[in-house]
Symmetry: C2
Subunit: 298 residues, 2 copies
């Protein structure tokens, strides 16, 4: 595949289809990048884009998209159910193939610097690109949201990494990251009692003393009348999918509840599932170079 | 990936490196095809090549390779430990992406016809391309080998599908097929008793009343002093890897023997392992389009 990075920019427009298309069009027209997916949510008034490409051309396309976003979106009148801190809200870069995390950190820095200077937007680096421990977690960085940043930006700990130390009224602020691919993996329980899913989630997730790279919560699937442990695996290389799955199963046993299924939401790196196959099939000395499709695309 | 076919031609030269390179070079120089692997065995005096490409250009490259093979290899003086019926021994075409089995059957027919007419070689179609049930199995087709074909070709049931009804003394005959990808999957047992591996193999394989698309035998791994159930899964879509694995485990229980590991030999289609991950993780409604790398390479 060559050198490939994924970027999942989120911008604060999910209702005006014409504006969304104008922004997404940047990726359709860009050389060396590929638009894999985008979905707008009207309640959230937000669009999530998934795009891949070689580092250089993807970086250029993200800047072009930012320019379009700051032209079209006005945060001073924005409403929506999802937390957000700017017109361009988050820009995480994810290494996929032939690229290191360090290179993604460099790209996050270059993109952050350019957005700060060119568009006069305060930029916060998070996850692997964070410049301090308290800035690693996106939820912490974004806390207070657009409206709160006019005050937060003046606090000792919250000066931006790039750009002015003044919120851009129209464009807000932006969070730029380098991070591992995220696997959205949910486990369905043979019960309708959401409090059981909740209790399991609390033991499995990092916050509750569980697995280092698991975020989890219990949710109710109303249409199927079952409870679900909904997880984000934020580093599938270190906290494998099968490990999270088996731990949910183990905890469910405590309540005499069975695991009736699971689901993978959206895109997943091949290695995240191949790794689970290796575990269950007890495959010794497997190399990803044995995957036919990987060899073909090299 | 576009339209992709794999071909695994085997030719009867594994000692003369210069000749092997001259033949393999055809694929290095061909447009639209990619040489994934080749390995020569001196004892077998045979080389196995793995090459992929789009149907049209791969087909052309195979004919070019055949021309080189018939120039360089003389079967009338060939010796080697592996069964063989010709200078170019077998040419199986395998659908990988965006190509149907029927199209591979058509290609096998066109290639067979061309080899028959252009190089004056008797051609036998086998597996999915076979023109009669008794010709499906390669071992049955090849029985008698090069030396035996001078007589076999005159038998009622063994007239070639293409080419002359007379063995080419220098080039021999050739077997051309369309078939599913083959997965070479071995399960290691916690015992050194090869007769247990053999007994398990007999129950798991099709021949012994076991799984439809499993070929299996017991072997001894001398260096590790353990027994192994060595399998070829000839249709992983219909007989899944996990099913063969679990069946070996179940039969091993009978002898109080544990499964200590497994191995995948050579290349394996991504779907063969993803499918096992889906089974063990109980993933509902998974689509291969959710695999990031698949989406990127499309």
């Amino acid at each position: 595949m060559g050198r490939i990075i994924e970027c999942i920019p989120n911008f604060s427009e999910g209702r005006d289809k014409e504006k969304v298309e104008k922004i997404v069009d940047v990726f359709r027209k860009a050389e060396g990048v590929k638009l894999l997916d985008y979905s707008s949510d009207a309640d959230h008034n937000r669009t999530v884009v998934t795009v891949v490409g070689n580092p250089e051309q993807l970086e250029a396309a993200i800047i072009d998209m930012a320019e379009r976003v700051y032209e079209l979106i006005d945060m001073s009148t924005h409403e929506g159910g999802h937390p957000r801190m700017g017109a361009l809200d988050v820009v995480p870069f994810v290494p996929i193939d032939g690229v290191t995390m360090d290179e993604c950190v460099e790209i996050a820095n270059r993109v952050g610097k350019t957005i700060g200077e060119k568009f006069n937007i305060p930029v916060y680096l998070y996850e692997k690109a964070a410049t301090a421990v308290h800035r690693e977690n996106l939820a912490t960085v974004r806390k207070g949201q657009y409206e709160g940043f006019f005050k937060k930006i003046k606090e000792d700990n919250w000066a931006p990494d790039y750009g002015p130390c003044e919120v851009n009224v129209k464009g807000g602020c932006v969070a730029v990251a380098a991070r591992q691919p995220l696997v959205a993996f949910n486990v369905n329980l043979g019960t309708d009692r959401v409090e059981i899913a909740d209790a399991i989630a609390k033991t499995v997730r990092h916050l509750g003393g569980g697995l280092r790279f698991v975020k989890a919560m219990g949710v109710k699937l109303e249409d199927r009348n079952i409870a679900q442990v909904s997880m984000n695996l934020v580093n599938y290389e270190k906290t494998a999918v099968y490990r999270a799955f088996e731990m949910v199963k183990m905890e469910a046993n405590r309540y005499g509840v069975s695991v009736i299924g699971s689901e993978v939401i959206g895109l997943v790196p091949m290695a995240a599932l191949i790794n689970s196959a290796e575990y269950y099939l007890q495959i010794e000395n497997f190399s990803m170079d044995q995957i036919l499709e990987k060899r073909i695309s090299e």
